[in-house]
Symmetry: C2
């Protein structure tokens, strides 16, 4: 695709390379916020899995993401470094004003305004498992915020702790197992020690959601 095909003014820089490794989506699981839904945009934290040369995701049945992807066969992976947005998208619907749209191949894809970059994928070979759908991802297009071109997200144990806490919080909500609360309390200390204001806010919101 050429630069002219992309009509979103928010994203002025297009990554010409479809090799996800040069883009930062490496082997293993890359934690992104996935946006879907041409009509009603939705955002949810989902890991993009690369393994044995394949790129795929696992979408839980019943989720908005699963619903949209089943119908539309596309998703956008948003790269986000904001721990508060991570927690908000884990537990709440984002406001419509937090999305912007990028036009790829004549279709308008919802992506997050806050994202430093996004990759739009086509979903192929959808396979059902008991509780989830596994779908291969085929690279379609990607963009990056001009604004964030100089930003290097330096590893921060506080940010990482919020990510772990969010994972454990969803497991706690599903299972009610109190072992997850122990983890969450451990990560709260780490987020407060190694993170900044955003990490503190993110953990406060997470505690509020869990009622602890």
């Amino acid at each position: 695709m050429t630069e002219n095909e992309l009509e979103c003014e928010d994203y002025e820089y297009i990554i010409p390379d479809s090799d996800l490794s040069t883009f930062g989506i490496n082997e293993g699981i890359s934690e992104t916020i996935v946006t879907t839904g041409f009509d009603v945009p939705n955002a949810a934290p989902i890991g993009i899995i690369r393994k044995n040369g394949k790129t795929f995701v696992r979408l839980f049945k019943g989720s908005h993401t699963w619903e949209n992807v089943s119908k539309e066969r596309y998703l956008a992976a948003n790269i986000v470094y904001d721990p508060l947005l991570l927690v908000r998208s884990t537990f709440f619907d984002l406001d419509l004003s937090e999305f912007t749209f990028v036009v790829v191949d004549g279709r308008k894809f919802p992506v997050l305004k806050e994202a430093s970059a996004w990759v739009v994928f086509q979903c192929a070979n959808m396979k059902n498992t008991d509780h989830a759908v596994v779908t291969d991802l085929v690279y379609l297009a990607s963009g990056r915020r001009e604004r964030d071109i100089n930003i290097f997200p330096v590893p921060n144990r506080g940010f990482n702790a919020v990510l772990e806490a969010a994972v454990h919080a969803t497991r706690y909500q599903l299972s009610g197992d109190e072992k997850y609360l122990k983890w969450i309390r451990h990560y709260e200390i780490l987020a407060s020690k190694c993170g900044g204001e955003k990490e503190t806010q993110a953990m406060e919101l997470l505690y509020e959601v869990l009622g602890i």
Copy 2:
């Protein structure tokens, strides 16, 4: 400083902004590999702390970094996304061939060839505590690899797990407390599940070092 003052061919892109936030070094603790030593370069993982508008580091007495900084009053923070290099620099001396030198204000600073970016700081207001020295950091210059300009390091729980394991491993080495081994084993599972080949190699090396 101007672009001409920087004579290192490996780093072709200079970040003109001395605001560390736009660079990715935010409030909290940013995990970097610090290089020091004009004569004998040394590398060690050290957190750059930003708190209440100040930027500083805590250097343990007796370490090579402490020794070099006490004498020379400079350090470079290297931004590295390679988990194996992180573990190697935690436990071993890196080979001289892994360093390159950047010329800032007529001085040749060692930085890591593998770093995606680096920031050179002058060290000021050094203060002694019982086991450490705390020194303020004054921004001097920064550079970024042309090679890595398109790379967005997407959050990866496997990489993060290696970072946690390395922290716990140094604590285990200092204290011998077996509680750290439990943490390390937890993070080994996470690194293997969410990381790639590099994360696996990094954890293998860490296990080898600890003899577990």
